[in-house]
């Protein structure tokens, strides 16, 4: 037959007795149950442990960041009240809601890792946002 290249040869095995079949089945069920559950329970333990460690490390890291930022927070009250209007990074005509959405998108992308600060928001000229995204997508890897 044409299929001789794909191992159509039946395995030659002695017919098992009923008792042997029972023993084989019990062996596989027991081994399978114990090994699969043991490995996955071990994984649960390991995931919980490293999640705990990572969580603690990150909370310590963020506390340190807050501490190092502390002097910057102590700005004179007057300055903070007056500055937002002057320091608004958005170009005129861009509504506050759009600025909030852009800030939220930046915060989502960087999460708690980077302390991103929006310095300016300008209307994109030339290409549309979709075209820009396409260009970025194709050029970023290089």
């Amino acid at each position: 037959m044409f299929l001789n290249g794909i191992s159509v040869i039946q395995p030659i095995a002695a017919e098992l007795t009923l008792a042997e079949k029972g023993i084989s089945a019990a062996k596989v069920i027991l081994t399978g149950f114990v090994v699969v559950f043991s490995v996955l329970l071990l994984l649960i333990g390991v995931i919980k442990l490293y999640s705990l460690i990572v969580g603690k490390a990150q909370s310590i890291g963020s506390k340190r960041t807050v501490k190092s930022d502390a002097p910057a927070v102590k700005l004179p009250a007057v300055q903070r009240e007056t500055e937002p209007e002057e320091n608004t990074p958005a170009e005129e005509g861009i509504p506050e809601e759009v600025v909030a959405v852009i800030a939220a998108a930046v915060a989502t992308m960087y999460g708690g890792r980077g302390r991103a600060k929006i310095k300016s928001i300008k209307r994109a000229g030339g290409r549309s946002a979709w075209a820009n995204a396409g260009v970025l997508d194709n050029t970023r890897p290089f």
């Binding site: 290249g5 062996k27 069920i29 559950f37 490995v39 996955l40 994984l43």
Partner: protein, 410 residues
């Protein structure tokens, strides 16, 4: 007259070499089955990415069995080693006679099939799956792994059924793995344990995966109460990038050390996931989950389908495999749900047992079914992300179960 005779001889030669003469009734039955599978893939869109190439491979091999033919060497007797006919051929002497080797090359699908036979394609598919999988829900709720493990019990129970139906230990292992509801794992295990059953097992596995939305809901409703199905689970915690990066590294270290037989599948799955989560090899991640995955899917699907020739597929054993595969699937779903119910009780009603059914892998179909059945009771309930935890745990679980089977009965 001579021209007419020559013409008739040529027509006769073409007729004698055609499928009209060489094909038997089994091939025609398989052609009908493959057309039905093509209908399911195209019209009903049942797992079309795999069912379509599988069905077409099946169609091709039954129309032209030579496409799967292995290469072989004919020995042609010659008068002496200097015979001009032997020029360019390997000459050998057997029993005082001189022969030259006249090789016949194998069919196209024979060569492509080597990737299945040697266990290369399934791990590569896992690489692509890893790139597309978000283990976040599993890391956020590691208890999901218990449900992923529970759903694998069906594999081992089906092994029992198969062995008592007269299959060998190795064949029973390959049949049982259908319950893992993971196509590449089923193919990988079958090529190692019972390659002659590959066509039947792969078709059964992919058919049942496509039928998850039909098979699972009745079992889910039968084994859970309305109250249990209505449970709204708490939102999962956000998972940090570092946790997601560490996950594939830790999993592969643990599984490859404790269960080396599962290392090719789990290793590739986790490599793909690390490509995705590291964020530093975007090009490779894209290639693995798109181009590579698609190419391998074409080769895997077509060549697995091509193993289902009439003589190889139309046997009583195939019907037994299809029946056992269904049992494996149902048992996997049932055990996932039962463990879900146990967790529901232990957590004081915080876990919706429906997510246990997603432990059978079949990513993401089984998770979507859990979401759909949950929403039938409470339209405001969104179980999808909670079900994705056991769902991806099922992929790891079935790879571990595959490792156990390869080790115990391989």
């Amino acid at each position: 007259m001579e021209i007419l005779n020559g013409f008739l001889d040529a027509i006769k030669g073409i007729y004698l070499s055609s499928g009209l003469v060489s094909l038997d009734w089994q091939n025609y039955v398989m052609i009908a089955i493959s057309c039905f599978l093509l209908f399911l893939a195209i019209k009903k869109q049942y797992e079309p990415l795999l069912l379509l190439p599988i069905a077409f491979g099946m169609l091709l091999v039954n129309l032209y069995p030579g496409i799967m033919a292995a290469p072989h060497i004919n020995l042609v007797e010659i008068a002496s080693a200097n015979d001009p006919a032997a020029t360019g051929h390997v000459v050998q002497e057997i029993g005082g006679k001189v022969y030259y080797e006249d090789p016949t090359y194998g069919g196209l699908l024979y060569y492509l099939y080597q990737g299945v036979k040697l266990g290369i394609y399934p791990p590569l598919i896992f690489l692509g799956i890893g790139c597309m999988t978000d283990f976040g829900p599993l890391i956020a709720n590691p208890k999901s792994l218990i449900l992923g493990a529970a759903a694998q019990i069906g594999i081992f129970i089906t092994f029992t059924g198969a062995i008592f139906l007269g299959f060998t230990e190795a064949e029973s292992g390959a049949i049982g793995i259908i319950g893992g509801a993971d196509g590449p794992t089923a193919i990988y295990v079958t090529t190692k344990l019972a390659p002659h059953l590959l066509g039947s097992i792969a078709i059964a596995a992919y058919s049942y995966m496509a039928l998850v939305p039909i098979i699972q809901p009745p079992i889910m409703k039968a084994l859970t109460t309305k109250k249990e199905r209505s449970v709204v689970m708490e939102q999962l915690r956000p998972v940090s990038r570092l946790e997601k990066i560490l996950f594939p590294i830790i999993v592969v270290i643990l599984i490859a050390i404790f269960l080396p037989d599962a290392a090719p599948l789990v290793g590739m799955l986790m490599l793909g996931n690390l490509f995705k989560e590291s964020g530093v090899v975007e090009r490779i991640a894209k290639a693995a989950q798109n181009e590579l995955m698609n190419i391998i899917t074409i080769f895997l699907g077509t060549t697995v389908g091509a193993t289902a020739s009439g003589t190889n597929f139309l046997k009583l054993d195939t019907l037994k495999i299809i029946a056992l595969g269904l049992i494996a699937f149902c048992m996997g779903t049932a055990f996932g749900l039962l463990f879900g119910k146990i967790m529901y009780k232990l957590t004081g009603g915080k876990i919706n047992p429906l997510i246990g059914s997603a432990g059978v892998s079949a990513v993401p179909m089984a998770a979507r079914v859990a979401q759909k059945v949950g929403q039938q009771e409470n339209p405001a309930n969104f179980l999808l992300m909670h079900a994705m935890g056991p769902n991806v745990a099922g992929v790891i679980g079935s790879a571990v179960a595959a490792g156990v089977l390869l080790n115990v009965v391989g």
